[in-house]
């Protein structure tokens, strides 16, 4: 038995069974012969972003992850609970708050029904609140996962847990893992791009797109809608592109002389990186310039050139994935609805935030679909945890709001081999605990990796004497079969 046959046997045992169970099946064994069945090798320094093959046939080629930083309330958007409305204002049952730790709630809180109207939409009959009317209109295109759980209830650790698999700093983010595993399809652009809106970066800061212990070439590159789209991409004042070209020619010639003299291959890598930098000086401003889109397209997204908005970022996300960027991560800040004042409550702030995202989110999904890109682009939308079924009433606040809640929250997935038009998982009648198809953060990560062709247990990097993985060195995670198309 040769090496490749061993590989197939290992794969058939581990993955064929799993994939039958998850309903993918039909994996062509023959195609595996030509693949690196033992996983992506650590990026070689000379070409760390060269395209690489995943463990098995991928359903998606790229990811757009839309993170609503602060965490929107699932109970006011998707997880409709008539019983909670009925018991609005009643004291919270004791058994729900015994031994629970809350960030802000003190004393005995009262249940809070939603102040917003809900209706069922589409063939699938998904419940969506009136705050997201356009999204309700495409309910059959997306999957709602109502059974997400996390074990973190403060923003920074919860965001780190979601994006790096660990609630602590210093670990690589999902986008870094995927660019490490897959490389990039476009060598003129970064493989992992991050954009923020809402005026702030997420609570956990840039660590949520950091590369942790992976080489820094895999960290997310923040593209900005004001100033240089990528830091230092513009030539200095007084230097034209022609002068830059001539100076790069000189750098190349002098480096080549040096390479001849010293024979170090690293010099040739540096020459290549300078040429790539030169191409990025054009390709990055080009892709980031949404003024190149038609007026109807801008209107469709609600985008306005020159502004830093979620709408602009959605349109940019489409432009980036169209050009083969592997992982686009958007962060939108302003969803931390505690109800301490009108700028963080359920009646004023939540509708305002929903209005900001409803149209561009739907434009992104339908635009990708029309361009034939939705099938191979996985879209993930959600916060870092859920919100409580109780009114927070911090210091007796009269504004409605909910505290942080790790025991259930809703995420939305679309495209990239996810089954459209389904609601997956369920919570109890007060929307407090998950009752069906519990999906952990590591499960979500494993599912995302799976759609990109990776077994989350095997995508690893040697660190501190262990094969470190997104789901942790000892983590167990399952891909949820019912979610997959």
């Amino acid at each position: 038995m040769n090496y490749a046959q061993h590989a197939i046997q290992a794969l058939t045992r581990r993955h064929f069974l799993r994939q039958c169970r998850v309903g993918i099946g039909g994996m062509a064994l023959a195609s595996l012969l030509s693949r690196d069945a033992f996983g992506a090798a650590p990026g070689k320094p000379e070409a760390p972003l060269a395209p690489k093959e995943p463990h098995f046939v991928a359903r998606a080629k790229r990811v757009i992850y839309l993170h609503m930083a602060g965490s929107p309330s699932q109970l006011d958007l998707f997880d409709y609970k008539p019983k909670l409305n009925e018991l609005n204002g009643a004291p919270c049952p004791d058994d729900l708050i015994e031994n629970q730790r809350f960030a802000f709630i003190k004393g005995h809180p009262k249940l809070l029904g939603t102040p917003h109207k809900f209706a069922q939409h589409g063939q699938s009959g998904a419940w969506v609140s009136e705050l997201l009317p356009k999204l309700a209109g495409i309910a059959d295109e997306v999957a709602f996962v109502k059974s997400m759980v996390t074990d973190q209830f403060n923003h920074a650790p919860a965001q780190l847990y979601l994006h790096t698999g660990q609630p602590r700093l210093g670990y690589p983010s999902m986008g870094s893992w995927l660019t490490y595993g897959l490389g990039s399809e476009n060598q003129d652009l970064p493989g992992f791009v991050v954009m923020v809106s809402g005026g702030k970066v997420p609570s956990a800061g840039k660590s949520v797109w950091g590369s942790g212990f992976l080489p820094s070439v895999y960290q997310g590159v923040q593209c900005r809608t004001q100033g240089d789209p990528v830091l230092f991409v513009s030539n200095p004042p007084g230097m034209t592109r022609e002068v830059r070209r001539r100076s790069l020619d000189a750098i190349r010639d002098l480096n080549e002389l040096q390479a001849r003299e010293f024979g170090d291959p690293e010099i040739l890598t540096r020459i290549a990186q300078y040429e790539l930098a030169y191409r990025m000086q054009v390709s990055v401003p080009d892709v980031m310039d949404i003024a190149r889109e038609t007026k109807p397209m801008l209107e469709r997204y609600g985008a306005e050139p020159g502004k830093a908005s979620f709408a602009n970022n959605c349109l940019l996300a489409r432009r980036l994935v169209e050009r083969g960027v592997r992982f686009v991560q958007l962060y939108d800040w302003g969803w931390d609805g505690h109800g301490t004042n009108p700028s963080d409550d359920l009646v004023h702030q939540l509708p305002k935030k929903c209005k900001e995202i409803d149209q561009p989110l739907v434009a992104l999904i339908t635009d990708l679909k029309q361009r034939g890109l939705l099938d191979e682009t996985l879209i993930v939308w959600g916060g870092e945890f859920g919100r409580t079924s109780m009114n927070e009433e911090r210091n007796g606040s009269k504004y409605l709001g909910r505290d942080h809640h790790p025991h259930c929250f809703t995420m939305m997935l679309a495209g990239g081999g996810i089954k459209p038009g389904i609601t997956y998982g369920a919570t109890d009648e007060l929307g407090y605990f998950v009752t069906e198809d519990r999906m952990t953060v590591h499960d979500l990560q494993a599912t995302i990796l799976h759609q990109l062709g990776f077994d989350a247990h095997r995508l690893s990097y040697p660190y501190q004497g262990l094969d470190a993985r997104l789901i942790g060195p000892a983590g167990e995670a399952v891909v949820h079969p019912k979610l997959l198309a």
């Binding site: 760390p48 970064p190 702030k200 990528v230 007084g238 004497g465």
Partner: protein, 796 residues
């Protein structure tokens, strides 16, 4: 354990594999180098030191367990008999349901690995303790053929290995290369053209040794090596986590610089940082030193549990201490017994107990803190005190109260109250001196100690058995009858019985000079780490280090004066094929400079670099919008004057948003201890050195220096530019290419004087009138090119 049925295919494979091996008398297998790492990576997770997750009762990290009769009646290893050894049968098994390791644990062993294990068992399966747990002994110098080459111990070990591999060392690098290499290594700065000329022209036989001494004595030495230590100390100017608010802890950074410059021995350096507060009558500096372990993060996000993050800080202290001194990654034992190294979860919390008795408890103000005057403030305060004392002595008798005395002393009264006023004014000045505070370690009082428990599955909410402070049993015990506190732990780390501290330290130094450690995994000397490429060299250096009184400067001197270090880095295709990573040192080191050195060098060659040392961290210009932080009004307030151009290690370090031009060059966020920065080579780095205003300004300043030196003489200008940037004259071909560039850019800017004025720059001050802007602009382009050469970014 299910007995495996030997299949025909297996027999066939075995015959094929072993027949030729038996025929050719295989070499002795080295357990420490070849077998333990293999067993560790493939088997220890289920058959290792962790008894809670041990499968089938089999333990492979010790001979006694590996050869014992198992539940199934078989033995994993029968000494000298691979055919009877169940382990050999199972790793070679073809049925994936029977084969070891099981598919879910990883890939099957390769034919070579199976062969290696088989030969080892056949040779009687000799065992030895993990190499790094045996204290180093000074090894004898090996015999070498090329007797003239070695200058010292290092060279004997390196040459012996080269000769056994049929390789020869490279010739010594030329003096231009040497002075640049050793200046960058020891001070993080390039030499000035004057220093280069002086060294080139120095006919004395000990010219190089003198150069090394000068560099080690330079204050820049302490700054350069503090940079290295601060990565280990996870030093930063903010608390980390969500709010990531500012903290004042720069006195600790200055303590490190100062300690290194004074060549504080590493053992004392260790004790003061881990337990300076517990020394008898500690000095102010010894208390500041304890901020080493107050560099842990502090969570001030609303709604967080202080105890949770106090525990996280203590965990970080345990992990960092073991990482920095013992090269041991112990973090996993926080939740369960270590799967690869002999460390139990209980032992983890015994170490935790050492650090669990300090006052700090994740409070927003980082208390306890310690206010101490800087040396300048101390001088100022001393002077005030002296003046106050002087004035007080001029007052009438201390017993007399002004106003109560008899009428004849009325004039005296007026005088006294005048003096009194002056004293009060001075006291006011004294009060107004704002002393910087530093978070410090302070032990809880004896009646308020914490009890330490095992945290079940690592959760601080789930407390198990209580434990006392202690050190892992795999190492020498603490002396009896001493208090089991941080001071005891610090002394244990640098004791003669500790097999790791000296090895780990010299290896980190070696890594800085040669780009890779003798143990490549400088963060892990355990079973999962790489074995050393030159074990005897490592032990020789470690014992030498201790013998030289733990002097870090002497260690540096030992390395940089070796023939090994002084080789040319030129590489032949043959050498590149035989040893692409230069693990054998048949050539000198050649690798990219660190982030801070890339910046410092550019500013230095442009003459912009400030030599100001110490003090609060500075904020050199960074693009607007880089800091966008939640729940915080903090903003980047660009420093003024020379503070714009300080050395990189003084740059304000915000953990959630470190200085972009440095992170692009692999600087870390300093959230946790980092032993080695992984070097990358990316287009974003090119964008920084091409376009970041700091680098453009350096090129503009360099242009003015060139013109000031050479005027209209272009060839002289090119010579000077090369000497400034690369410490060597250009080769003819290079000078020709640069002259072409200068000519084309001069023509370009002559035709567009407005662009020329921009390119020549005004941020560093308007160009002097005698310097034509078109010429300056052309030199700026040349300077920008030179600052971006691979050779410039590389220590060669």
């Amino acid at each position: 354990m299910k007995a495996a049925v030997c299949s025909c295919a297996w027999i066939a494979t075995a015959v094929l594999l072993f027949a030729p091996v038996r025929a050719s008398e295989p070499a002795q297998v080295d357990f420490a180098r070849e077998i333990r790492p293999l067993l560790s990576s493939k088997c220890f997770a289920c058959h290792g030191p962790d008894e809670n997750h041990r499968e089938a009762g089999l333990r492979l990290d010790q001979q006694i367990g590996a050869t014992a009769e198992l539940e199934s009646g078989s033995r994993a290893i029968v000494l000298g008999d691979s055919g009877e050894s169940e382990m050999i049968r199972r790793v070679a098994e073809e049925d994936p349901f029977v084969r070891m390791p099981p598919a879910k644990s990883g890939e099957p062993l390769s034919a070579d690995q199976i062969d290696l294990l088989t030969r080892w068992v056949e040779q009687g399966a000799p065992w030895s303790q993990h190499w790094s747990y045996v204290p180093p002994e000074p090894p004898p110098l090996p015999e070498v053929a090329q007797k003239k080459w070695p200058r010292g111990g290092i060279d004997y070990f390196v040459l012996a290995r080269l000769e056994s591999d049929g390789l020869a060392p490279s010739p010594e690098a030329d003096r231009h290369t040497l002075i640049r290499r050793v200046s960058l290594d020891l001070t993080g700065l390039p030499p000035t053209p004057e220093e280069v000329e002086q060294f080139i022209d120095d006919p004395r036989p000990d010219a190089y040794a003198r150069l090394v001494s000068r560099l080690l004595d330079s204050p820049a030495y302490g700054e350069r090596w503090a940079r290295v230590w601060l990565d280990l100390a996870r030093y930063a100017d903010t608390n980390g986590y969500e709010k990531d608010a500012r903290r004042t802890i720069w006195r600790y950074r200055d303590w490190v610089i100062d300690g290194l410059n004074r060549d504080m021995p590493f053992d004392q350096f260790t004790i003061e940082q881990l337990a300076g507060d517990l020394l008898p009558e500690p000095s102010l500096d010894q208390i500041i030193a304890t901020a080493f372990h107050r560099n842990t993060m502090n969570n001030t996000e609303g709604g967080t549990d202080d105890e949770e993050f106090r525990v996280a800080a203590v965990v970080d202290r345990v992990n960092t201490t073991m990482q920095v001194w013992m090269g041991t990654t112990i973090g996993c034992a926080q939740c369960h017994n270590h799967k690869y190294d002999p460390l139990t979860q209980r032992e983890y919390y015994e170490l935790f107990a050492f650090f669990n008795q300090t006052e700090d408890s994740d409070k927003d103000d980082n208390r306890p803190t310690f206010a101490t005057p800087t040396p300048e403030q101390k001088a100022q305060l001393d002077e005030l005190l002296q003046r106050i004392a002087q004035l007080q002595s001029e007052l009438p008798d201390a017993g007399e109260i002004p106003g109560e005395s008899s009428s004849e002393s009325e004039g005296g009264d007026a005088e006294a109250s005048e003096i009194q006023k002056q004293i009060e004014a001075l006291r006011e000045q004294q009060k107004n001196v704002e002393l910087p505070t530093t978070p410090i370690m302070r032990e809880l009082p004896a009646d308020d100690r914490r009890e330490t428990h095992i945290h079940v599955r690592g959760s601080f909410l789930n407390l198990g058995e209580s434990v006392e402070a202690g050190v892992p049993s795999a190492f020498a015990p603490l002396p009896p009858d001493i208090p089991r506190d941080r001071l005891a732990l610090a002394r244990w780390l640098i004791s003669d019985d500790n097999p790791l501290t000296a090895r780990v330290t010299v290896n980190r130094y070696w890594e800085r000079f040669f780009g890779r450690g003798i143990v490549e995994t400088s963060e892990d000397f355990g079973a999962q780490g790489e074995p050393p490429s030159h074990p005897e060299l490592l032990d020789w250096l470690a014992t030498q280090f201790i013998e030289e009184g733990w002097s870090m400067k002497e260690l540096c001197r030992l390395i940089v004066t070796s023939s090994t270090y002084r080789q040319s880095s030129r590489v032949t295709p043959e050498l590149l094929e035989k040893d692409p990573q230069n693990r054998l040192y048949a050539r000198g080191p050649r690798f990219r400079l660190e982030a801070e050195a890339v910046r410092d060098q550019a500013l230095a060659v442009g003459g912009l670099l400030s030599s100001k040392m110490y003090g609060p961290s500075v904020m050199p210009p960074q693009p607007p919008g880089v800091w966008q932080i939640v729940y915080s009004g903090e903003s980047w307030e660009t420093s003024k004057g020379e503070d714009k151009y300080r050395r990189g290690l003084y740059t304000f370090w915000r953990r959630t948003s470190p200085y972009p031009a440095m992170t692009v060059f692999d600087a870390t966020s300093r959230e946790v201890c980092t032993v080695r920065r992984i070097r990358t080579n990316t287009p974003l780095q090119a964008l920084v050195t091409l376009n970041d205003p700091a680098f453009v300004e350096a090129a503009q300043a360099l242009a003015r220096r060139i013109f000031a030196h050479s005027g209209e003489d272009v060839q002289a200008g090119i010579q000077h530019a090369y000497l400034r940037v690369l410490s060597r004259p250009p080769r003819a071909e290079e000078a020709k290419r640069v002259a072409e560039l200068f000519a084309s850019e001069l023509a370009h800017y002559k035709a567009d004087l407005q662009a020329a004025a921009k390119m020549a720059g005004s941020e560093i001050g308007p160009p002097p009138e005698e310097m034509p802007v078109d010429v300056l602009a052309a030199w700026t382009v040349v300077g920008n090119v030179l600052l971006n050469l691979d050779e410039t970014l590389t220590k060669d």
